[in-house]
């Protein structure tokens, strides 16, 4: 097994009085997909934002290649080859494809202090990146993000991360807005990244997607690491249970099916 690219040791994170992450220790290795699972509000996004340099851990240590690192800002993480697609982000509706692709990493041309945003280069790179991603409808880097579909935006965000994520690729629910075809494309991209030796952290609520690409699984329940296991160690049902916060979803599944059968295919109303 290869060495950990990125490691968390006893990381805690709280926002004022609210403790969100408790004592998380986790490793991601090169060429491995770590699936981060957990219910809504479990702290998955907070965890990856800590890795991406958006939040600083309240306590605990972060290591890259075995050496302690601290990220003062997202740029520090980006400079070390960590690229993140955030859950609801990366969309500036009134910016062009080329400009938004390079937000925070603008390519420039020119001399001395008179640097000029290199629009042609930005557009060309951005369009090539999304096209390689299979979104061939985007041919003009001047197009505004607001005119793209949800899936196209998500694809653009992932293409961007792939472009900059030399070592670690973090995807927070990348398949949430996507159709079946795009979702499977994302999964293929994840596998491709793994083959290239990139460490991938993949967050999803869909067991199928998790099982399709995950090498390693970590389950968060209310901010604590509840379970960690490798591919093949747990069955689909067990994983589903864990993702729902340890509740017996398997039984629930049967209940739901029974309910739907007797209610013209409608799912039962949510219970709290």
């Amino acid at each position: 097994m290869s060495k950990a690219v990125l490691e968390l040791r006893n990381v805690n994170k709280s926002f004022g009085p609210i403790d969100v992450l408790h004592d998380i220790s986790l490793k991601v290795r090169a060429g491995e997909v770590l699936c981060l699972l957990g219910d809504n509000g479990a702290g998955k996004s907070t965890l990856i934002k800590t890795l991406a340099g958006v939040h600083k851990p309240t306590s605990g240590q972060m290591l890259m290649d075995g050496e302690p690192v601290t990220f003062e800002r997202p740029r520090d993480a980006a400079d070390r080859g960590i690229a993140t697609v955030h859950q609801f982000g990366g969309t500036f509706p009134l910016m062009s494809v080329g400009r938004s692709f390079f937000v925070g990493m603008e390519p420039t041309k020119g001399i001395g202090p008179f640097k000029v945003f290199d629009r042609d280069k930005a557009n060309a790179v951005a369009v090539r990146a999304v096209q390689e991603f299979g979104i061939t409808r985007i041919t003009d880097g001047d197009r505004l993000i607001g005119g793209l579909s949800g899936g196209e935006r998500q694809s653009l965000a992932i293409a961007r991360a792939l472009h900059f994520g030399a070592r670690v690729l973090i995807l927070d629910e990348p398949t949430a807005a996507l159709g079946v075809k795009q979702a499977s494309h994302v999964l293929r991209v994840v596998m491709e990244a793994r083959k290239r030796g990139i460490a991938v952290i993949f967050i999803t609520h869909q067991v199928t997607h998790a099982m399709a690409v995950g090498d390693h699984f970590a389950v968060l329940i209310r901010g604590a690491l509840a379970a960690e296991f490798a591919r093949g160690e747990k069955s689909r049902e067990e994983i589903t249970d864990l993702m729902a916060g340890g509740e017996a979803l398997a039984n629930l599944g049967a209940d739901v099916e029974a309910y739907m059968a007797s209610h013209a295919g409608h799912p039962p109303p949510p219970q709290h």
Partner: protein
Amino acid sequence: MSSDINPASSGISGALTGLFRRPEVGAFMGMVLVFAFFSYFGADRNFLTPFGTSSWVNAASTIGIIAIPIGFLMIAGELDISIGAVVPAAKMTMAIVCGFYGQSIFVGLLATFAIAGMIGWINGTIVVRTKVPSLIVTLATLFSVSGLTLFLSLMLTDTTSQALTSPDWAKALFGSYHFWGFQSSVFWWLGLSAVLYYVLHLSPWGNWIFALGGDKESARNAGIPIDRLKIGLFMLASMAAALSGVCETVLSNSATTTTNFALIFNTIIAVVVGGVLLTGGFGTVAGVFFGTATLAIVQQGIGYTPFDRNLSSLIIGVMLLIAVLMNDSFRIMATNWSSKKK
């Protein structure tokens, strides 16, 4: 002037539809329309003479120097109305330091811009720290600064207005009449427009400003120092207001403490008529430039027509409404726009 959403469409009709989707084009057409209107009714009353021209260009310059930085703030999703008090504060600082205490213009400029920069810094810092809407924060600083200006002026000089004599070079640089009767501030306006055009549309910082206004969280996640950027934009707005004040003071050789409430509205109108979205994330320097010119043409041009002066406010009100509606349709059209390349 070209912008970042330069249409690459082929053919005249393609170029035309592309043009219509650029906010500065709307602002430009509005300006041409208003100019034609006042030229028609004001031609025989000297509107088109050098004297008539400089009267509205001069008025535009005092607003325009401030309007572009206010436009930047609005693109970034913020507002600054404290400039209405920063202008008299800057004027009084200049007049008290140079006129009352007899210091050199250099010292006066240093003090003026330091104070303005500090007000901007306070505005920005409160906005990013507390997340209180910038309208309220700058409303508070508007009153604080205007109160402090009055208080300090009375305490230090016992008057609310102060005379100032400047050396020739300072006169020429900040406040004298040049060819056609253009004030020095006109050249500052043009120069500042060019520099800020570079910043917004050509430099990487422009990308940050658009990103900040488009989606603050995503901008932060992308590694943009959003707090520092915002504070910087507030400082820019305050210091631009100070520049406008310095020009006025040096020109008129005097300063008063009167808060300039009209200026607050004028800058906002210029920015909105210039096609900047109230919701942030979109706008151009050229648009704000044309918006400022349009506003000044209406305000000054009315005096050259047979119409009642008070009608200028009516025209501006209607214009503002049309601009807001157009901006919104621009936004909808812009986000649906896909140009076909060959």
